[in-house]
C-alpha cells in the first residue's frame, strides 16, 4: 500500500490545468453517470418523467449518504464497517417509535443524527484515542449495533411516520425531489467543510499521518471528529432509508456495507487515503444504482449481471486511477 504522497500541502495543491483537475476530481464519475443516464433514457424513455427521476433519487439517497460518510473515513485512511449498524438502528427506531407530523419528523432527524453521532463517538474514541485499527473496532461496533437493532425490533415490522414517508419521497412543485434536496444539502455542507482547516486536516492525516502531526495537526481530535461526522451522515442515511421503505427491518443496513465501499472507490477516492471526495462518492453511489437499471433494460441475463457489475467496477477504478496518476506526473 505504498503511496508517493509526501507533504500534505502538496496533496491539496491546486493544479493549473483545469482539465486535469476535472479528471482527477469528481469529473470522471460525473461524466460516467451522465453517459450511463443517457443510455438509460435511450432504452427506456419513461425514465425522463419527473416521477421516474424522483424514484431514482429516492432509491439512491440512502446509499449515497452511506457512501458520503464512508468517504470521510476513507479519506482519513480508515475503514468504517459500522455504517450497516447505524442504519439498522435508525431504521428500527423510526419504525418502532414513530413521531407524527413535521415536528415529529424534525425530532426523528435529530434522533437519527444523535444515534449516528453516538456510534461515531464510540468509534472515534476506539480508533483515535485508543489507537485500535479502524477495521477491527468498527467491525466490533457494527456487530454490537446489529444486536441492538435486533433487540429493538425482532422481525420486520413497525411503521415509519406517514409524514416522513410521504414528504421525504415527494417532489416540490411536482418536479424537484425532496431526497435530491437532502443530498444537495449534504454536498454543500461538505464543500464548505472541505475549505476549513478541519476539512484539510482530514485529507492531511489520510495522506501522511506523521507529517500531519509534525505540522501541528491534532491527529487524534481530527480523526475523532471525522468518525462522529461520518456517524451522523449514516444516521441521515438511515432516515432516508426509512422514508423509502416505510417500515423497520433490523437487518436493513447490511446490504449497504459493501456497496458503500464500492461507491467510494467508483467515485475515485483512493482507499489508501488522502484524496478523493464526498461528492464523487455520492455520484459513485448513484452510478451503482443506475447501473442496476441499465443492466435490466439491456436484457442482461439475471445470472450474469454480477459479471458486468464486477467488470465495470474494475474498469472504472482503473480508469480513474490512471487519470489520477496522469495528474500526478505533470
Amino acid at each position: 500500500m505504498s503511496t508517493v504522497q509526501s507533504d500534505p500541502s502538496t496533496m491539496i495543491r491546486s493544479n493549473e490545468n483545469p482539465l486535469i483537475r476535472f479528471a482527477t476530481g469528481a469529473g470522471l464519475i460525473v461524466l460516467t453517470y451522465v453517459v450511463l443516464y443517457a443510455l438509460h433514457a435511450f432504452q427506456q424513455p419513461r425514465a425522463l418523467t419527473s416521477y421516474s427521476i424522483a424514484a431514482l433519487f429516492n432509491n439512491t439517497a440512502p446509499l449515497a449518504l452511506a457512501a458520503a460518510g464512508q468517504a470521510i473515513i476513507v479519506i482519513s485512511r480508515g475503514f468504517d464497517l459500522s455504517v450497516a449498524g447505524v442504519i439498522s438502528i435508525c431504521n428500527v427506531t423510526l419504525a418502532v417509535y414513530p413521531m407524527d407530523g413535521p415536528g415529529g419528523a424534525m425530532a426523528s432527524v435529530a434522533m437519527c443524527l444523535a444515534i449516528g453521532g453516538s456510534v461515531g463517538l464510540v468509534n472515534g474514541y476506539l480508533v483515535a484515542v485508543l489507537k485500535l485499527q479502524s477495521i477491527a473496532a468498527t467491525l466490533a461496533t457494527m456487530i454490537i449495533c446489529q444486536g441492538i437493532a435486533l433487540v429493538i425490533l425482532k422481525a420486520p415490522g413497525g411503521a415509519v411516520s406517514e409524514w416522513i414517508v410521504y414528504e421525504m419521497t415527494d417532489r416540490i412543485f411536482s418536479v424537484i425531489p425532496v431526497s435530491g434536496l437532502v443530498l444537495g444539502g449534504v454536498v454543500l455542507i461538505w464543500l464548505a467543510l472541505k475549505r476549513t482547516s478541519f476539512g484539510i486536516s482530514i485529507y492531511a492525516i489520510g495522506a501522511d499521518e506523521t507529517s500531519a502531526a509534525l505540522s501541528g495537526i491534532n491527529v487524534t481530535r481530527v480523526r475523532f471528529l471525522a468518525h462522529v461526522l461520518a456517524g451522523c451522515t449514516y444516521g441521515l442515511a438511515g432516515f432516508m432509508l426509512s422514508a423509502q421503505t416505510a417500515t423497520g427491518n433490523p437487518t436493513s443496513g447490511t446490504p449497504l456495507l459493501m456497496l458503500s465501499f464500492a461507491a467510494v472507490a467508483l467515485g475515485g477516492t483512493a482507499l489508501t487515503g488522502g484524496r478523493g471526495g464526498v461528492f464523487a462518492s455520492i455520484v459513485g453511489a448513484a452510478t451503482l444504482i443506475l447501473l442496476q437499471k441499465v443492466l435490466f433494460s439491456s436484457g442482461v441475463s439475471s445470472f450474469y449481471t454480477g459479471m458486468f457489475q464486477g467488470s465495470i467496477l474494475i474498469l472504472a477504478v482503473v480508469f480513474s486511477s490512471l487519470l489520477a496518476r496522469l495528474g500526478d506526473t505533470k
Binding site: V35, N59, G157, N249, I289, V294, G299, S302, L315, F319
Partner: protein, 405 residues
C-alpha cells in the same frame, strides 16, 4: 501512458456499446404476448431455483409458450434493488409480476403504483401487506404449530428439544416459531434447551446443531425449519444416535425418515414445510386471470401445508409424483433437493426435470386449476396491513394432540 488511457477509454465505450446493443428488446412490444416478469430476491439455493425453474417450465408449456414472454430478474437481498427492479418492470409495461418479495412492507408503494397501472402482482411463499397484491402462500397453514404438536406427540409430552430456526429478523421464521412455541409452552414436560438460527441452510444447521450438542448431548428431539438434514448429520457425527425430528421437505430428510437404518437409530417424525410449487400455482393463477379464464380480486390465497409422516414416505420410480410417492431417489436428486416442488392436482404439467432445469415436459399442455381457492387467514404485518389475526390462529389442522398438557 497515453496508450493505456486510450485502451481504457475504448474498453469503457465498448462495454457501453455492448450494453446498449444487447437485444434492444427493452421496448420491443409484441402485441400478442403477455409480458410476465419473475422477480427473485434471494438466489442460489435449491428452493429458490426450483421455484424459478417451475415457472420457467410452465411458461414454455403449450399454449403459454406462444402467449407469454417470461423474464427472470434477480435482485439480491437489498430491498432497494427489488424496488428499483419493480419500477423498471412497471415502466416496461409488465402485465404480471410473479415474485418472491424480500420484504413484506418495503415494496408496498411501488406495488401500489404498479396495480394502478394494471399490473398483476402475485407473490409466492413470502408475502406483502399491500392489499392490491395477491399472496400465494402456505405460511398461514400452520407449519410451526402442527409440526410442534407432532413432535410433542412423538415425545409423549416430555423431553429436551432444540429449536432450529431460520433467518433472524425475518417474519416467516417469526411466524413459524411463534406457532411452535405456542404449542411447546403448553407442555411443562417439554424443555427447549437450545434455540439457534440456521439460516435455512443444511451446513449452518449442521454446525449450529453440533455446537448445541456439545452443551446438551442428551437431547430428545429437534424441531427444525429448512436445513433439517444438517441436524441429522450433526447427530450422526456426535454419537451415531438419532431422535424424533420434524422438519421441512428436503430429499435427504425424507429419505432418512424412510430409511430402516436411521429408524433403528431412533429417527421418526414428520416432513412438512415450504413447497416451491407455490410459484407454479401463483403463475398459473396469474395467467388464468390474464387470459380471462378466471376472475379473482386481490386476496391472500393459502397453499396447502404438505404433511408427510415417516410412515408415509414413498420413493418415486418415475419422474413425477404418482401412486402416492413423494420423494425422488438419491440417483436423481441431491440431498438438498426440496421435494414439495411438484403437485399432481395443481401442477400436473411438470416433472422433476422441470424442477431441476426449468425445461418443459415434451408434449404437455397446461391444465386448468381447480376452481376453488382457499383464502388464507390474516397474519398482521405479514400478509395484511391493518388487520386482526383470527382467534383460531394456531389451530391444529394436521394432527391432534395425543398427549394432554
Amino acid at each position: 501512458m497515453r496508450k493505456k488511457i486510450i485502451k481504457s477509454t475504448a474498453a469503457v465505450l465498448a462495454l457501453s456499446a455492448i450494453a446498449a446493443g444487447i437485444p434492444g428488446l427493452a421496448s420491443a412490444q409484441d402485441g400478442k404476448k403477455f409480458k410476465v416478469f419473475l422477480s427473485l430476491s434471494y438466489s442460489g439455493n435449491a428452493w429458490q431455483s426450483e421455484a424459478a425453474n417451475i415457472v420457467k417450465a410452465l411458461a414454455q408449456t403449450a399454449p403459454y409458450d406462444e402467449m407469454v414472454e417470461l423474464r427472470e430478474v434477480i435482485s439480491g437481498t437489498d430491498p432497494q434493488a427489488q424496488i428499483s427492479a419493480y419500477e423498471s418492470m412497471i415502466d416496461e409495461g409488465a402485465d404480471a409480476i410473479i415474485s418472491f418479495p424480500i420484504s413484506s412492507t418495503a415494496l408496498n408503494r411501488t406495488i401500489k403504483r404498479g396495480c394502478d397501472e394494471g399490473v398483476l402482482f402475485f407473490m409466492y411463499d413470502a408475502t406483502v401487506t399491500e392489499s392490491c397484491a395477491y399472496n400465494v402462500s402456505y405460511l398461514s397453514s400452520g407449519f410451526g404449530e402442527n409440526s410442534a404438536q407432532a413432535l410433542v406427540n412423538a415425545l409423549e409430552g416430555n423431553g429436551k428439544i432444540f429449536l432450529s430456526r431460520g433467518v433472524p429478523g425475518n417474519s416467516v421464521d417469526q411466524r413459524h416459531t411463534d406457532g411452535a412455541l405456542h404449542i411447546f409452552n403448553q407442555y411443562p414436560g417439554i424443555e427447549v434447551v437450545a434455540e439457534y438460527y440456521s439460516y435455512w441452510d443444511d451446513r449452518t444447521t449442521q454446525q449450529e446443531t453440533a455446537k448445541a450438542l456439545t452443551a446438551n448431548p442428551d437431547v430428545d428431539g429437534i424441531w427444525a425449519q429448512a436445513g433439517e438434514y444438517g441436524a441429522i448429520q450433526a447427530l450422526l457425527d456426535a454419537g451415531d444416535r438419532l431422535v424424533p425430528m420434524t422438519g421441512e421437505n428436503s430429499a435427504g430428510f425424507r429419505l432418512a425418515l424412510a430409511d430402516p437404518d436411521m429408524q433403528a437409530k431412533g429417527l421418526t417424525g414428520v416432513s412438512a414445510g415450504s413447497p416451491p410449487a407455490q410459484s407454479g400455482y401463483a403463475f398459473k393463477l396469474a395467467m388464468e386471470i390474464l387470459t380471462g379464464q378466471r376472475e379473482l380480486e386481490p386476496m391472500n390465497i393459502e397453499y396447502p401445508l404438505p404433511w408427510v409422516p415417516a410412515d408415509a414416505v414413498k420413493v418415486c420410480e418415475g419422474d413425477v409424483y404418482e401412486d402416492g410417492c413423494n420423494v425422488f431417489p438419491p440417483e436423481m436428486v441431491p440431498s438438498s433437493f426440496v421435494s414439495e416442488v411438484l403437485n399432481t392436482d395443481l401442477l400436473p404439467e411438470v416433472n422433476v426435470e422441470s424442477a431441476l432445469n426449468g425445461t418443459p415436459v415434451p408434449g404437455a399442455t397446461i391444465q386448468p386449476l381447480p376452481a376453488e381457492v382457499t383464502e388464507a387467514a390474516n397474519l398482521p404485518g405479514i400478509n395484511c396491513g391493518s388487520c386482526e389475526a383470527p382467534e383460531n390462529l394456531y389451530e391444529l389442522t394436521k394432527v391432534e394432540a395425543t398427549v394432554q398438557p
